[in-house]
């Protein structure tokens, strides 16, 4: 198994377990590369990549851009706020115009679920989904899996709980697919209003008590409350959410074992986790960010290698 089974990275759902393993193994080599004195390899020097961000992003955008530059690709950036999208241009027209300038790969974040799949059917370039609405965020799930594997040695048989705003989270869905394909047990935990109606049909456990969930798990992935996507009130107040589902140091220390804490960022400090938890030695939040670059390099390298 040395090639991906897919031409695009649209979602974890389309990947096989072998694909995921191949990406994680390749990312290990790239992690070694980005820790060298010279952090750059010439693999993609003949490739041009367009980063199309129709939605705000700091981490993912920087991470992709660094990954592309460390592979020596040429990079063009596009942010919808300062573009002709505002004048009413359609997605296909925007992208086709960019492709007319001879771009080989497109990394796209878009607020609409399925935007990446839609694009892959209409244009002739490799697409990497960097988040489409509340649907999938495949590279985040891959870097989360890589970070868990790095910390715990393996993923098979591990218990991972995803806490918080599962309803609005693309990270949750991609993580569930990815971890299950790698043989982990997944639980989701949060208020009923933030649980998608048919979530248990994905084969995940559902828990509404944070302490019980934390006692069960090896790893807790604390999601951000996505206030910008909540058009109605899903809970009475942020303060009440924090009381019931926020993780603080005294709860973490009172657990019977040491669990690993993850967060996809950006953190609302004091809401889903307190600062002392985020900065504790059980947290691998900054490792996740470092691994993000290595994992994205692996994804771009492997997709470029596919004819």
């Amino acid at each position: 198994m040395t090639k991906l089974s897919t031409k695009h990275l649209l979602g974890i759902k389309d990947l096989t377990a072998d694909d995921i393993q191949l990406i994680l193994n390749t990312a290990e080599s790239f992690k070694e590369v980005i820790n060298r004195p010279i952090k750059k390899v010439p693999s993609l020097r003949d490739i041009t990549i367009a980063n199309l961000f129709f939605e705000n992003s700091t981490r993912t955008k920087l991470s992709f851009e660094l990954a592309e530059k460390r592979l020596s690709a040429d990079v063009v950036n596009f942010a919808s706020a300062s573009s002709s999208v505002k004048k009413g241009e359609t997605l296909i027209d925007t992208v086709n115009n960019i492709l007319a300038m001879k771009v080989d790969m497109v990394v796209m974040r878009h607020p609409n679920p399925g935007a990446a799949v839609f694009l892959s059917k209409h244009i002739d370039a490799k697409i990497v989904n960097a988040g489409d609405g509340a649907h999938e965020h495949p590279t985040q799930a891959l870097l989360d899996a890589f970070s868990i594997k790095e910390k715990l040695g393996s993923i098979k048989g591990k218990k991972i709980v995803i806490v918080g705003d599962v309803l609005h989270s693309r990270v949750a869905l991609s993580n569930i697919f990815c971890l299950q394909k790698l043989g982990a047990e997944v639980m989701v935990c949060g208020p009923t209003t933030l649980m998608p109606k048919y979530i248990s049909s994905l084969g995940v456990k559902v828990e509404h008590n944070l302490r019980k969930a934390l006692e069960w798990c090896d790893v807790a992935n604390m999601l951000r409350i996505q206030l910008e996507r909540q058009d109605i009130k899903f809970f009475p107040s942020l303060r009440e959410y924090t009381m019931l589902y926020g993780l603080n140091k005294s709860m973490l220390d009172s657990l019977s074992k040491k669990i690993v804490i993850m967060h996809p960022g950006p953190i609302n400090r004091g809401v889903e986790i307190t600062s002392d938890v985020a900065d504790s030695d059980q947290s691998i939040i900054l490792d996740q960010v470092e691994n993000g670059v290595a994992v994205r390099m692996a994804v771009l390298f492997l997709l470029a290698g596919r004819a």
């Binding site: 040395t2 080599s29 004195p37 010279i38 010439p42 693999s43 290698g305």
Partner: protein, 179 residues
């Protein structure tokens, strides 16, 4: 049907490696400013073997040996299926005399990639190439080895197979041809 022809048996293999070590000592003396870098995946076996033999001959336990993966520097990664392996160089090659080691020198493309990959670890004073088998008629690039175990004339459709005690049970080099 591939018919195997033995180029080096385990006895000759041992003699060849020992001779290469003495040639290295002639140039590099006590290895105080020299390092060995084996090219992944198959060159590292030879590099490790040479490191061990040199330690015995020089009674010096501190001969530096690293392994270098060239996958990300290759010009043909889109035409072939390549799996990256580990790079492990725990020293800086800046101002060192580097001996690049590979098992078979064929087209020269791996060595070209290896030279590029090595530059990420500093600017060496001097780089030499050591190979066990030199297939001298198949070069695509102007690259020659300074130390050669055995030179053979083979055509592109033939295959050279190098086996190692550590992974294949015995030290042996065979030529497989298609007739």
């Amino acid at each position: 049907m591939m018919k195997p022809r033995i180029i080096l048996d385990s006895k000759q293999f041992e003699v060849t490696v020992t001779r290469l070590c003495y040639q290295l000592i002639e140039v590099h003396n006590d290895f105080s400013n020299s390092v060995i870098v084996g090219l992944q995946p198959r060159g590292i076996f030879l590099a490790k073997r040479i490191q061990k033999k040199l330690s015995e001959l020089l009674k010096n336990k501190d001969i530096k040996c690293g392994s270098l993966d060239t996958t990300f520097y290759r010009d043909d990664f889109r035409k072939k299926e390549l799996i990256p392996t580990a790079t492990e160089i725990n020293f800086i090659v800046e101002d060192k005399n580097v001996i690049l080691v590979d098992d078979v020198l064929f087209t020269g493309r791996t060595i070209r990639a290896g030279l590029d990959a090595m530059l990420a670890f500093g600017r060496p004073n001097d780089v030499e190439l050591l190979v066990l088998i030199d297939r001298r008629l198949s070069r695509h690039l102007p690259i020659q080895a300074k130390y050669v175990g055995k030179t053979i004339d083979s055509i592109a459709s033939e295959k050279v197979k190098v086996e190692w005690k550590e992974t294949d049970g015995a030290d042996r080099v065979t030529l497989l041809s298609n007739d």
